[in-house]
Symmetry: C3
Subunit: 161 residues, 3 copies
């Protein structure tokens, strides 16, 4: 077990299995696209332990509270890490997080997207440490997200081996 997974275990964190999509939905792109020393991570939402998309669903600042939005961002970050693990085999291969784009399905007057996406940023830094886990970030308000997700994340990491 690499040091990143030891850290996950020490934090009591479990990675979710691959996403089970809602019936009738077919997606043909990879969750992680690796090319040379980069891994590009497709949009991920929060997942339950059985791989299904995790609720509550809706817009943050509307049906979904700030706290539930933060938890969704944390779960979506775990889902990204799980996809990286499946693609790379070993999370220690991630040498640096580079960029995370944090999308919050937002009620028209909701303005606290940064606090929501801190749920993701804080987890990534906790697991990978401030040096490897630091990343450029935007946290912005979307009109709508797939399946009614409150939060979706996409990202780019460096793998320098």
């Amino acid at each position: 077990m690499g040091k990143t997974e030891e850290r996950l275990a020490a934090l009591g964190l479990t990675l979710p299995p691959p996403l089970s999509l809602p019936p009738g939905v077919k997606l043909t792109f990879p969750w992680v696209r690796v090319h040379r020393n980069r891994a590009y991570i497709s949009g991920h939402g929060p997942q339950n332990d059985d791989g299904s998309l995790a609720g509550p669903f809706g817009k943050v600042g509307g049906e979904v509270s700030l706290e539930d939005g933060q938890q969704a961002a944390r779960l979506a970050a775990l889902a990204m890490i799980a996809s990286l693990k499946r693609e790379l085999g070993e999370l220690d291969r991630v040498s640096a997080w580079l960029r995370i784009f944090g999308m919050v399905s937002s009620a028209p007057d909701f303005q606290q997207q940064p606090l929501v996406i801190n749920g993701c940023t804080d987890l990534i830094v906790e697991v990978f440490g401030p040096e490897r886990g630091g990343h450029a970030r935007s946290a912005v308000g979307m009109a709508a997200l797939p399946f009614g997700l409150p939060v979706e994340l996409e990202a780019e990491v460096a793998i320098d081996d």
Copy 2:
């Protein structure tokens, strides 16, 4: 003619000419920015054969149907390929699609952005093949897009020559 363009021809696909902007609009950035082994593709919308922006215009899930949204995503993907062809000269220079960010102008309750953007993803994979054409992807709902476009795409590809 390179193999990618042979494939386009075999599929009966024609690339649109450069975008003719609506009167009074001036844009000073390049449609494709090449730097060393990367090409960054600016936001593209669907185009008609004469280079004008293609309708229907409006929000998907509102004035624009799911099917029309998918067709818009397909046309926007063709517009990106056309810009790449003009910039690179030869589409075979694209060694890998890396990332496509699929933006769908969405009615507030529309949740099927992934099905819309499949119109793009499926075309790229058809033309470039699953290996070169595979890409990380997000498909998300925007409050509004320029000129009332229902779909806009931005992307990044590798050119390893």
Copy 3:
């Protein structure tokens, strides 16, 4: 003083100090993430000369006019340049702008996001010149942005030293 800063001075432009966040907001990510020959720039909004976020706040096409949106995009571009200067020490290290993602908090029917983000694009090209400053760009409409900002920009630049 490098040639980029000479150009800033010749244009009469002053870079703002680091962002002073509204009370109670804590952000733990870097404004610029440098990794090898890339700098990834986090989402930036317009700033006043004292480092506070600059108004007017609200949605462009609603409370905020097109002209005020353009000025916000110009100020947000200056804030990105200021963060790059603090991180890189010397702006001449930027060898090429690659990609700018221009986000405009938009009233539902606002469609002139490209004209708003021209406020950024024109400034970057003025300061860095068309060769170094050229960039792929999208200009799109968000449902909401942090703190009620009318414009937010994220970007990626090459540093080839």
